[in-house]
Symmetry: D2
Subunit: 465 residues, 4 copies
């Protein structure tokens, strides 16, 4: 079990689907491997062989959940969906692991879902009033109830009818014995791509899942698109459009792997542009550019390129970290940083350092890192963040559950600089950030400016965290 | 993980509930320990502290599921229910582990259930038609849906309304933040007892769960009774009565622990009487009486007493058995018996043996045992079974899913005797069996004579196994 | 992991060896299964294929140590030895697990050993003075050093030379690439039997290990005999005889399985005789005879037979017990007994009970059991022990490490009776006990009377526990 | 469990020692965390409290071996040594895990060792002839035997006497109840540094282990130096010098962490110089410089700096990799690379790429990587290796066991280029490599040129791999 970094944003999940391949479950397994960075708490695969839907899921990393050699062969069939769930701080929570497998009047099906609905609570209450029961806190279950109560006859119409009623962020995969359906919300908050391998179609949160199985990237599944794949091929339905698209800019800033296409753009290219723009907006007189590995690497390269301040490897990440034994007297947070990151004194000694990271959440970790750099002789530490200050909670699938945890929600940049004890601190501007993507108007910036593209849920925390 | 004995009847589960005790979850844990013989596949406990309902469950034996030292302390509150599920032959099936925890319009609740409904399929279909979704194959979920769709306001009335509609075998525990409700079906198929410890009430499948926590046995919960326990005390509701009670005689023959009270009788006393009656009905000229341990021990004592043929320990059971490595060339079934049971040659050599067991399912194991006894010198082996031949499937919570697996469904006693290669074979008569209990008319004998006390489900196998 | 019963005597181990069988390791595995009662802490198998010696061992029960499906197939060859080690109270201690595999001038070899040397400390010191290093606290290592320092050329002569020097209890198996050697100490403290299956010879602590693989019992390996088995067959060497044999009577009383031959006698027969003799020596006016299961069962049958007081099952043992969660406020010892044993009130109520067990160590458990019986209505509880009071430590392989733990070392029977709160208490006399075996003069009675058949080690505790 | 990369060189281990600290074992634990890259197969810590030596070790990563919360607190005392062992390809091999704990005439002690002796086999034979037994294949055991047979009285003299006789590579830690002794071989093959924290001394393979606990780096332990630390402080003994020092240049090229001091130099600085020198020796007309992460990162930065070809992140490493399920039809090697590394098409498409790695062993992985890069559009792939071709086995602690596995031992660079299907391939020259360190004459280059600084062992493979 890999330890979570408490002072980081977390994506809720990664999804993968495939239809028409003899080794559907095996490819789903590899796809989840490639999407592991999107969630480490639990993993699951449901497969379908035309008659039945089988499911295996468990707590832990993909390789561990499927380590029993009998598991994968049991997931028979030509179609499969898979899901990685992000790592919460709390105890194991298998009940919320996905895919969820159910039976309803439309038959057997399994679903996997990435995102968060903003009118989930209303629907939960309404459906409970109508007599539904909820076994999880997952929004997937709401969508399932909408399907189950639909008057339509085809499952895709049932789903479409249900999705029309809900608002929020979702990429939703539904597997029946003979169909794979993939839907993306009309705002398009979360990414979902379509690919092909042989005669099989594949869908995944990020295109890196196509690469690992050798599938070809075809295109992004459009906001509001419902793709239905069965033995006759692929058809496409649409949901009513919304006024403005709302792609999550944090997919480029941090969540997605740099080798992925997301929202039709190359992540590593956007991420490098963020660093370049940051160099233009917040130059500094320094000797070296370093990053907080691995998340800050690409932006740091961009910053170094644009600023001319050479890129160095100033922090080494330890990748063998698990649940660390903490002695009673030790300061857990300090130790966590030291166990994970080691400063390279040869690089830092007597240098004026620009330190690049993608974001600051609470600030506690950054404070430790600045301290570490100084302890190895860094003369100055200038922190540059390749995104604007996060001031507002996200209701669309990122675990920023309350303002109190966000240092930038209450403090000015100068206060934060003082807190983390940096010689200077600068964030990217919202405009600068948006200048790095091709269609800036289609991105959500709510966590920076509070301009939520949907009505804000009233009692958000209650059910979702 | 303890290996299952494929050639045995299996009970579906054991349930335990407690309300009003500071260590509710700990007592539930001990109660499940005592009820472990009723199910070894999975175990779970839900606790309630007046506001919330917490749940932990997992695959394996009770001690293993709760072995993490942080688990038990997390199950806070004054009330708890627990459940042991029986060991299926297939792979791990956590989705069907109980208790099941849900939220519906009546709020949060957890349920645990022992038994099988005979009109489950109709209800599943009907509820699916009405828009419900099913995440498990457990009948508990049907009852939950009935509650969730009820128009009543008190949860006990919701439950009562639901239970009125269903037919079959169930002992059902329901835990809300502030109530514990226990219901037993009007036929009374499965046992459920009420006890008290301090100011707390306890309910359990068998009274042995009271002994381990030092609780006092009060009485059997009546067929058709719904007991509601909350901070004000205990109240009792009733369900419409059925014509005839249908206690499961196999609780006395095999399932329950001999130190339990079940259906108001001492199990070990009934079990000894079965052996005595068997001796009267099927005497034989022999030197020693032995049993298949541990299930046949008590009946064998009774047989020995009544027949005057002295009781000996002729077979030793190995209690350290787990998943045995079976080499490719080995005969799994033969090895299973040899790994579990070892004949005592000093007892058997040149002796004419009466071998007592509680039942024969497929006959394969008994055939091996007879062979084992002869290999150690037994001169004659006379098999005596302390119940009648099982000829029909059970629809009330025992996993006799189809007739084909029951040797007695198609073969005469003489054929079975030939198959198991015994010198003689005799079963108890139905009348003889019933003569050992105080109220013979209240027992179900359907698995022996096919006289089912409820309508027989049409497609039983489909959902239940 | 099965919990140990702190208030019990523990054997040190069980050993098994086989030479000349295509499935040597598999048969060793089954043999260890049958010998699991002799040790539950660790298990191991070494195999030999004529060229190399392979080893796998681990902490836990046999089935668990060898549960990885790749393990057994890796133990190739025609010969194998196996070992079960008893369960200590402390933490895991893999370094002392056996077999131990070494290389010395005689080549590669693996050894497994049951027993304790009484001059171990002298030898350790002497060998350390000569430059040897010790990696374990096992006496096996001393014997290995003696082999390694021998001037002989054949490994059996090396072993014989070494064994001539040591004193104490041992059954010792040595596996080389092409030989299996089995030695039993001249006093014959521990049992070791020889058997045959096909062309292969087998040796084992108890004959029950032969039964499980279908091997034929040939004979006891004589005290002081060294059996050498290789491709040419079996030859026998001898060690210088001692004045008096010293078989461990506790093998009959408690350690060995009743279905085994041990010291040329049927254990269950001796054990039943112990019960009969106890009835003659310590009669009591009572209604029923019950036993502490499973160890007291056979003696209780004998007591019942001789006394005419009918045998009943008054205590049920729970076989699903593992590491039990103990809440902070709970009394561990009381709970342990309640978790493991449940009294059958139907049997006990208003009865005068004779309770048979094989021995009393500290008395704490027996006190709890007497209390349990009374709590279920037993009118009188008369405790009868099928062995004499244990007053002295054992230096020959049983973990009675110091007198302070033995209640009978300092207290009279009447005091013990008062402590355990029994209505009466009687032990078997030494004479009575010895009357049950064919050659009473060949048994060791040191733990009862302090008449040690060898010089007593000076600093016994230091290295052995 | 982290999967090993079969096509990589592997260091044998990392060692850590501390004396005089209240939290000795905890600091050893953290030190091992920092040294985890030197060995992932097993980990262990021995601690000493002035009277006894305690040990815990196991298979797996440090965090996993010590994950039971009871383990660390049991390792009491003011002194401790720890060891990480590298990951072999074979099955678990706990018997060779270190530290090894023994008792001999010098008392109790534990040892940990990094390196390989070249006259090990002679000593094993000689000592076996003298009557010693070997339980492991570790060279540590030879040193222990030399200590055990010494005529000296102080343990440091015993050790010194023993070390005088042996030849080869070793850093050796010895812990007694009241001393910590650290020795480095006269050639100085492996690095060993001395540090201080408070009043405690620490020793470690690399200085990164000092950083994690906040210890100060003092100096390198000199080749041939024996450091003895006890309550009176630190004293230093010396071994007879050798003609020429032989530091392992691969510590700079690959093994050590870039944030460590090793052989008195900053690893990341040497590594960057290797890249720069490579750029001078083997320039190429290309668009981007990329590395095989993470091992090639620093050299790639150097190459980019010196060549002016900009550094990009062209391959992403997946750090969530464990034992991957491989379907029967899959090509394990191809899959391994794809699971671990993903090419970034945005960086690679239509680019002429310089790919930097530290070394090539078999060439199979590099061939896959070149293929991966081309599959994402790389127009040209020029492979540059920051070390010379490895043509000879290493006898000093790296697992290059036989020539047949080294592609450069039999093939010319042009052939290797053809095999890996690169557009060009160049290695660093030996001279160029040595130009990057301050004292080139003190380094061993045997794996490149076969000039072994010690006599070559005759039967090397037999015992060591």
């Amino acid at each position: 079990m890999i330890v979570t970094d408490d002072d980081r944003l977390h994506e809720e999940c990664g999804v993968f689907g495939i239809f028409g391949d003899n080794e559907a479950a095996e490819k789903a397994y590899l796809g989840l491997y490639a999407l592991q960075h999107r969630g480490q708490e639990s993993a699951g695969i449901a497969s379908s062989d035309g008659e039945d839907v089988r499911l295996h899921k468990g707590l832990g990393l993909v390789w561990s959940v499927f380590s029993d050699p009998l598991t994968m062969p049991s997931l028979r069939g030509m179609a499969a969906i898979g899901h990685n769930r992000y790592s919460t701080k709390g105890a194991s929570d298998l009940v919320n692991a996905q895919p969820i497998s159910i039976e309803c009047k439309a038959g057997k099906m399994a679903v996997a879902h990435n995102g968060t609905l903003t009118n989930a609570l209303e629907f939960r209450r309404d459906m409970q009033d109508k007599g539904s029961i909820f076994q999880t806190t997952s929004d997937s279950e709401i969508i399932l109830h909408l399907i189950a109560r639909s008057q339509e006859s085809a499952v895709e119409d049932m789903l479409r009818g249900g999705l029309k009623k809900i608002v929020g962020a979702y990429c939703f995969l539904l597997l029946t014995p003979d169909k794979l359906i993939a839907a993306r919300d009309p705002h398009g908050f979360r990414p979902l791509s379509l690919g092909k391998i042989g005669n099989a179609y594949v869908v995944a949160s990020e295109s890196c899942a196509f690469d690992i199985i050798g599938a070809e990237y075809l295109r992004t599944i459009a906001p509001g698109e419902i793709v239905v794949i069965d033995s006759k091929g692929l058809t496409s339905l649409t949901l009513p459009p919304v006024q403005r698209k709302s792609f999550c800019i944090f997919e480029h800033i941090y969540f997605s792997r740099p080798d992925s296409f997301v929202f039709g753009e190359k992540v590593d290219k956007v991420r490098r542009s963020l660093g370049k723009q940051l160099a233009r907006e917040a130059p500094v007189d320094a000797d070296i550019t370093i990053s907080v590995p691995d998340s800050g690497n690409t932006a740091a390269l961009g910053y170094a390129r644009a600023s001319g301040i050479k890129y160095e490897i100033g922090l080494i990440r330890n990748h063998y970290v698990g649940r660390t034994f903490i002695a009673p007297h030790q300061d857990k947070r300090k130790l966590d940083v030291k166990v994970k990151l080691n400063p390279v004194s040869g690089v830092l000694r007597d240098r004026r350092v620009v330190l690049i990271d993608d974001s600051i959440v609470r600030g506690t970790t950054m404070r430790q890192i600045v301290h570490l750099l100084r302890s190895k002789g860094a003369k100055e530490v200038h922190v540059r963040i390749s995104s604007p200050p996060i001031t507002c909670p996200c209701y669309y699938g990122i675990d920023i559950s309350n303002k109190a945890e966000l240092i930038a929600s209450a403090q000015q940049v100068s206060d934060i600089q003082a807190y983390i004890e940096a010689d200077s601190l600068a964030y990217l501007t919202i405009e600068g950030m948006l200048s790095t993507v091709q269609e800036p108007a289609q991105y959500c910036t709510a966590c920076f400016d509070g301009k939520y593209p949907t009505p804000v849920p009233l009692e958000f925390d209650k059910y979702c965290f």
